[in-house]
């Protein structure tokens, strides 16, 4: 069965420190993975998708099929990065599975 696990519900880091939000998945096929971000009082928006291999707002994420992980990383956290982050997996038929989310707080 498809599953996305985000082990950390809450994560706090100091401004300027590196940050890593963990995401592990289980899926029998070739997954497509995403990170979505929800800033306070705003709608969810796409941050990254693994196939594009982009760096958005300084964030990167690498798909590791051996470890079934798609961790989100940023070398230097900023206060504006404080938000809720969701890892998501897309399967055939445009079905999506979301993790439970990680609330990131960047301490000034």
């Amino acid at each position: 069965a498809q599953r996305v696990t985000q082990p950390e519900k809450l994560l706090s880091v100091f401004k300027g420190a590196p940050v890593e939000l963990k995401c592990n998945y289980s899926y029998s096929g070739s997954p497509e993975l995403f990170w979505y971000v929800q800033y306070s009082r705003q709608r969810l928006q796409l941050l990254l998708r693994h196939i594009s291999r982009e760096s958005i707002k300084g964030f990167t994420a690498d798909l590791n099929k051996g470890e079934t992980s798609f961790h989100l990383k940023k070398p230097f956290a900023q206060e504006e990065d404080s938000a809720m982050y969701y890892c998501a997996l897309s399967s055939t038929g445009n079905q999506f599975y979301f993790g439970t989310g990680t609330s990131l707080t960047v301490i000034p």
């Binding site: 995403f34 709608r43 796409l46 998708r49 897309s90 445009n94 999506f96 599975y97 979301f98 439970t100």
Partner: protein, 113 residues
């Protein structure tokens, strides 16, 4: 933001009453979804639609029904609201240029007393 709106944005209702939430899109995307967002549970899929009059159940569909009579509208109905259905409800769409990228609506905050 993609052209997705939800109405109402906030609603307070009483246990046992029916409630209908509306999602409207102007993007002509094929797929539409209803999620609920709860602390500790993240986003959970209630129902989704893969075309007009084509819908299927998600992870937490009990107590909810949906209808999609035209491409742009996807209605979520709570047949008899319960306090456990107090939540924030998000609509999403996909099926555009990046076929499986989802775009979300602004959410509806529902409180069942």
């Amino acid at each position: 933001d993609a052209g997705i709106t939800q109405s109402p944005r906030h609603k307070v209702t009483e246990t046992g009453t029916p409630v209908t939430l509306r999602c409207h899109q102007t993007e002509n995307h094929r797929y539409m979804y209803w999620y609920r967002q709860d602390p500790g549970h993240g986003l959970r899929l209630i129902h989704y639609s893969y075309g007009v009059k084509d819908t299927d159940k998600g992870e937490v569909s009990d107590g909810y029904s949906v209808s999609r009579s035209k491409t742009e509208d996807f209605l979520l109905t709570l047949e008899s609201a319960t306090s456990s259905q107090t939540s924030v409800y998000f609509c999403a769409i996909s099926g555009g240029r990046y076929d499986n990228e989802q775009f979300f609506g602004p959410g509806t905050r529902l409180t069942v007393l």
